[in-house]
């Protein structure tokens, strides 16, 4: 069993503090749901764990089985078993999906995977996800629909076999059938020794992939923790109740965040 531990994590983006002391412990074979209003730090937490250079960790620690994750480069984190399924997967023109997948699989192996085995693994995974075979030969995410991109993230997760998968709104862009297929693959992998951290606004994902733990992240802090009952409550009542806990909900400011760069003189609140 492995443990991913986040302690008192403070993260700033462009000088503005987004996470203000997050504690979270995730073990393999557990599934954690991270909920909260938009713009309150969910994606920031996931990106910071993976090490996106725009997210600056100002305080706190992240460890994987006691090893300092913050001292690792992004690719090291991946090779140690962390995986981030992204909300907006990047498009890489001119690089085929299969060349990329093979390079990624080989990156964590001593000996490169032989071509036959790779093709077998790829075909199997494509089949499980009900994907179009041609996607392997198309350029990475280029011209993929929203749903195809999300399936492609899960395809990567399946082939890379991480210890911990952080999935950021993996259900957006997927129709009901596709969500069923993706959930089956995720559940399959949960049978093994994998931990999951799911970010989603929608109960439908959590019904298909029931979490063992639920956290509510508001204004950069985890303000409530529990199980499925918390999801049901949010589904019924929204987030207004957290104000009774003495927490301010951060209004979504992403649009204004862009304005900040353009105007250059907006006062940080």
């Amino acid at each position: 069993m492995s443990v991913l531990k986040v302690e008192n994590l403070h993260v700033a983006v462009g000088g503005e503090e987004i996470l203000k002391g997050v504690d979270l412990t995730l073990s393999t074979q557990e599934t954690h749901a991270l909920m909260g209003p938009n713009g309150n730090g969910k994606s920031t937490l996931l990106a910071a764990i993976m090490g996106h250079p725009r997210y600056e960790v100002t305080e706190g620690s992240i460890t994987l089985d006691g090893e300092d994750v913050l001292a690792m480069s992004v690719d090291e984190r991946s090779r140690k078993g962390l995986f981030l399924g992204m909300q907006n997967p990047q498009e890489i023109p001119g690089v085929t999906n299969s060349d990329f997948l093979r390079a990624a699989m080989n990156a964590r192996r001593e000996q490169p995977l032989n071509l036959f085995r790779f093709i077998k693994a790829l075909e199997g995974a494509i089949d499980d996800l009900g994907m179009d075979e041609n996607l392997a030969h198309r350029y990475l995410n280029e011209g993929f629909s929203g749903g195809e991109k999300k399936r492609n993230e899960i395809l990567q997760m399946k082939l890379l076999q991480p210890k911990f998968a952080l999935l950021d709104e993996i259900d957006s862009g997927l129709d009901v059938d596709a969500l069923g297929v993706v959930s089956n693959v995720i559940n399959d992998m949960r049978q093994g020794d994998m931990g999951l951290l799911l970010v989603s606004h929608y109960e439908r994902l959590y019904k298909l992939v029931p979490p063992t733990h639920v956290h509510v992240l508001v204004d950069g802090r985890i303000v409530a923790e529990g199980g499925m009952e918390l999801i049901n409550k949010i589904n019924a009542e929204g987030y207004e109740w957290v104000k009774e806990l003495g927490v301010d909900i951060r209004e979504k400011e992403e649009k204004q965040g862009i304005m900040l760069g353009v105007c250059g003189n907006k006062v940080t609140q």
Partner: protein
């Protein structure tokens, strides 16, 4: 991580090695009438060629240095050697090739490459072709593939009919220089209706200090014929300036197709000033696949003169400019007839302060009714100290021409790097993958071995300043 931290370098060029000088004849430094007469005499040329050389020399001395593009004012023509001849005779027997020359070729992988896919190799070492071989397919089909001196000697009628017709000696100062001192290069004639399944290849190489190389290539693809010619260049590094001023003339007959592929990888002290032009007749198609990786200065604009109705011209070009390099390249498409079409795809990569510019001309003349052109220029700038300009010129003299121009300039984005690295690729691997993807429209046009060689040439060495 800032983009400036991407300290990307071309892997130090393994080809930068110099063998001992095996030249058996040289004209010494400097250029004058005596040198030109001596070159012609040594080659045993007919009188008309001597006169042509002398007239070219006169024109070269008369013409001013070009004042556009790259500043060439530091060039000193008295400092170059204009003719060097390495081995006594041409040979098509590998065993007879001098050992040091063989070492060079072995390191360049010529014999293997030949065995695998080449129809014939004429490997140029310094100014003279020393190794020349043709496979049976080429001979059986009546294709003439010779070094250019043999072409002049053995096929004087064809030679004289086409030589200087596409690029006249007085076209520019460097074509005039080439006219005066040209030496080496290929002569190819493909008879009517003949298609060669495999590409023909020639390997060029400079191996002497301050040695100028003035190769001259003449390719005639007769009616309905189809050929792919591959030329590769590599040269060892020296401290003194060296000059390469080649001229490549191609005639594409009615409904014929010619593809000319070259990856230029001169060492970083060479001025590479090349004139390449094809004349394309009715229904013919010319494709230039043009890679520029080496040299200190390159000025090269492969051109298609679309002279017959329905003629087609294509240029796919990449330039990779590193520290100290100025690569000024592009394409010219001259539409002289109705329903002609042209396409230019240019990909530039700059890093470590290198400069790669696209300079292109598309001209639709009055008679070019219903002509179409598409120009696409993409630039990838890998750090903050490198630069690239796009300088397109479009001239249209009729009312229904269509010219499309698209240009993009981009950096390797932080998000793309993060994405690939989050799957376990190192920063070097990730950047390399993005760069290779960027030039993929070019590399997919190359024969397999060349694509592999290109990948090795552009192999990135970015140290260990990893992301995050």
């Amino acid at each position: 991580m800032a983009l400036e931290d991407l300290d990307i370098q071309i892997q130090s060029v393994d080809d930068d090695f110099a063998d001992e000088d095996v030249s058996v004849f040289t004209t010494g430094k400097g250029l004058n009438e005596a040198v030109v007469r001596e070159i012609s005499r040594v080659k045993g040329e007919p009188e008309w060629m001597l006169n042509y050389r002398l007239e070219s020399l006169r024109k070269f001395n008369e013409m001013p240095m070009p004042t556009w593009g790259v500043d060439l004012s530091q060039m000193d023509f008295a400092e170059y050697t204009y003719y060097n001849r390495p081995a006594d005779d041409l040979t098509d027997n590998w065993d007879e090739v001098p050992e040091t020359i063989k070492n060079t070729f072995n390191r360049l992988g010529i014999p293997e490459a030949e065995q695998k896919f080449l129809a014939g190799a004429s490997a140029q070492y310094e100014s003279e072709v020393v190794y020349h071989n043709m496979l049976s397919e080429v001979r059986e089909k009546g294709v003439i593939f010779l070094d250019i001196d043999s072409g002049l000697r053995e096929h004087p009628d064809i030679f004289r009919k086409y030589f200087d017709t596409v690029i006249p000696y007085d076209d520019n100062k460097f074509s005039a220089l080439n006219g005066a001192v040209w030496s080496g290069g290929s002569f190819i004639y493909v008879p009517k209706g003949v298609t060669l399944e495999k590409p023909l290849q020639s390997y060029f190489r400079i191996n002497s200090e301050r040695m100028a190389q003035f190769e001259r290539t003449l390719i005639i693809v007769d009616e309905g014929a189809n050929i792919h010619y591959v030329e590769g260049c590599t040269a060892p590094a020296y401290s003194k300036d060296s000059l390469h001023a080649g001229v490549v003339e191609i005639i594409v007959g009615k409904n014929a197709t010619c593809r000319y592929t070259t990856i230029q990888n001169w060492s970083r002290n060479i001025n590479n000033l090349v004139t390449q032009r094809a004349l394309v007749h009715e229904g013919g198609s010319m494709e230039w696949v043009d890679g520029n990786i080496g040299s200190q200065v390159t000025m090269k604009y492969p051109a298609c003169i679309l002279a017959g109705e329905g003629a087609k011209g294509t240029v796919i070009t990449i330039a990779v400019a590193d520290k100290g390099q100025i690569l000024d390249s592009g394409a010219k498409m001259i539409h002289l007839a109705p329903n002609t079409s042209s396409q230019i795809i240019s990909k530039s990569i700059t890093r470590n302060g290198g400069k790669a510019d696209y300079r292109g001309l598309v001209r639709h003349t009055k008679k070019a009714i219903n002509a179409k052109s598409k120009v696409e220029c993409d630039t990838l700038i890998l750090d903050a100290i490198s630069a690239s300009d796009t300088i397109p010129t479009n001239i249209v003299a009729n009312s229904d021409a269509i010219i499309e121009h698209e240009a993009t300039v981009s950096k390797v984005s932080e998000d793309q790097l993060f994405y690939l690295m989050s799957r376990g690729l190192t920063k070097e691997q990730a950047t390399e993958m993005i760069v290779m993807g960027f030039i993929e429209p070019f590399s997919r046009e190359l024969p397999m071995e060349y694509a592999v060689e290109l990948n090795q040439l552009i192999k990135l060495d970015m140290g260990d300043n990893a992301i995050g």
